[in-house]
């Protein structure tokens, strides 16, 4: 009896892996349609460029981001220093490039935290229902009562300032969005026939959630995560700017702007380039995320 249902489960799996042929083709389709949208394409190129800088940054920076050149303090952009130097005589171009790795890491780690925790909570709430659902969703309501970065600020107040704590804080602050999205999707697919079939065959709850439900909520999560990384970078840089995140001499874009504040009159280049780097990165992620949303969720776009 048990052997038979296991075999049927295997058959369902086989059928599903056949079905994943279609998603693979769909993935190629998504890519092709992404390339057909000029703005999304621009976004993808920008993101690829920043990711590349984050990966190979240290190899291409003209100098070490911490190198101090005493003879060239606060020198304006020139052939030797394309972005100029800061008040300590450090090459701003090198620091901006080094900052790509920091900001992307912060964005990806914090959204990773939010995605994993939020998805798990959403799956549990949507699948189990009842008082567990009530408890989780009321908790999310309370978290959402702290608008925007305020929740992150509360968490930093608890953990203390610092870059790692900023990642944790921004990550926790972003959890409710994922929980809500995943829960709504779970409620939607929970009653579908193929889920019922899997349940009738005795598939354990975790397996149904993991294999049958999660696959269906992947698209909205990818869109949310792309847009979320951009927002997380923005928030983290803002927290570093007010001194609650990265501390000097970390070449973090927000912290660099914090230092630039004091030299605005003498050295505009200290403020312009790190800020432009943040803006470029976030614009890229937003354009890409918008494009992905239009493609993956045709209902949301052109009516």
């Amino acid at each position: 009896m048990k052997g038979e249902s296991t075999r049927m489960l295997e058959q369902i799996d086989a059928a599903q892996s056949l079905a994943t042929e279609a998603p693979r083709r769909a993935r190629v389709q998504v890519l092709r349609r992404l390339l057909a949208r000029p703005l999304a394409l621009v976004g993808a190129i920008i993101v690829a460029f920043v990711v590349l800088l984050a990966l190979i940054g240290p190899m291409v920076t003209p100098r070490s981001p911490d190198d101090i050149i005493y003879t060239a303090v606060l020198s304006p952009p020139s052939a030797a220093f394309p972005f100029g130097t800061d008040d300590a005589g450090r090459d701003i171009l090198s620091r901006v490039i080094a900052g790509a790795r920091i900001s992307l890491t912060v964005g990806v780690v914090s959204i990773g935290i939010a995605m994993v925790c939020g998805t798990l909570l959403g799956l549990i709430a949507g699948y189990l229902g009842g008082w567990v659902d009530q408890l989780i969703m009321r908790l999310m309501d309370i978290m959402l009562a702290f608008p925007d970065i305020l929740l992150a600020i509360v968490i930093i107040a608890i953990l203390g300032p610092g870059l790692v704590n900023v990642m944790i804080a921004v990550g926790i602050g972003a959890i409710p969005v994922y929980t809500r999205t995943v829960r709504a999707a779970v409620l939607d697919v929970r009653e579908q026939e193929y889920v019922e079939a899997a349940r009738a065959l005795g598939a354990p709850a975790w397996r149904i959630m993991w294999v049958h439900i999660l696959r269906n909520v992947l698209a909205p999560i990818i869109v949310l995560a792309t847009l979320g990384v951009g927002l997380a970078i923005l928030i983290a840089a803002g927290l570093s700017f007010v001194g609650l995140g990265a501390q000097p001499p970390t070449p973090e874009w927000g912290d660099m702007l914090n230092e630039a504040q004091n030299y605005l009159q003498q050295a505009w280049w200290m403020a312009v380039f790190p800020g432009a780097a943040i803006t470029l990165t976030v614009v890229g992620l937003n354009l890409l995320g918008d494009g992905l949303r239009d493609i993956l969720d045709p209902m949301s776009s052109h009516k």
Partner: protein, 297 residues
Amino acid sequence: MLLVPILFGVSVVVFLTVHLVPGDPVQIMLGHSPSGTNIQQLRHELGLDAPLPVQYLRYVGNALHGDLGTSIRSSRPVIAEIGDRFPATFQLTLAAMALAILLGVSVGVLAAASRSPVLEGVLMLGATLGVSLPSFWVGLLLIYLFALQLGWFPVLGSTSLRGLVLPAVTLALPAAAVLARVTRSSLVEVLHQDYIRTARAKGLAWSRIVRSHALRNGLIVVLTIVGLQFGGLMAGSVIVESVFARPGLGSLAVAAIQSRDYPEIQGIVLVFAVIYVVINLVLDVLYGLINPRIRVS
């Protein structure tokens, strides 16, 4: 009524802030090498030596009487510190909200009603840029250009009306961008409805259709977003006030976190969250009044 459980939850979170601190919050607050008697004294002053539920009830009871404890940095009542700083933040948030609605709704309506793909694309690209711009960077650029170079506005720390312009613009931009996007998509949806086609078929001018037929229905959704944006603006004031050195609640919060002044942090966060929750409740009620479809269901 969801207001009471949420406010209860908010108060619990704010209350727990001090208890979730890894290590001994009293020791952290006192800084390096405090003496034993100091620790005992501060712990007693903060009421941290009582059982948790008692502490919570005491905290909420006091808060309802307007007593949010005493600031450790200034030894003044937290409520007085907040009272001093509140007007600057309130002014800034209100001015930014007005600006954001004005700018965001006009851009959104223009984009939806333009019927020119180029204009629509440009406006919406501008909206994407608006949500991607770091406010602290925009603030610095505006200071450099309009205060330092052109000298049109005071540079820093001014609470005059003239000094309000640059911070308000800085704070308003992202909110305006969000409002523009919501306005556009909501209006586009309305413009595809049957009654709009009817209006066109009977020969009404397009501008007239947009103005008197579509706007009223299209702007209902915008109202709820305004409520959410209000929270974003209050939280955003934390950063914008730091850029412009405005003496408001936001910059007070940053200073309080940096010196680990927990009573002050708790007070500010509580005030922000309560205002946000209440504003959204009021807007929910307004939403029901304006939109008869909600009232029925």
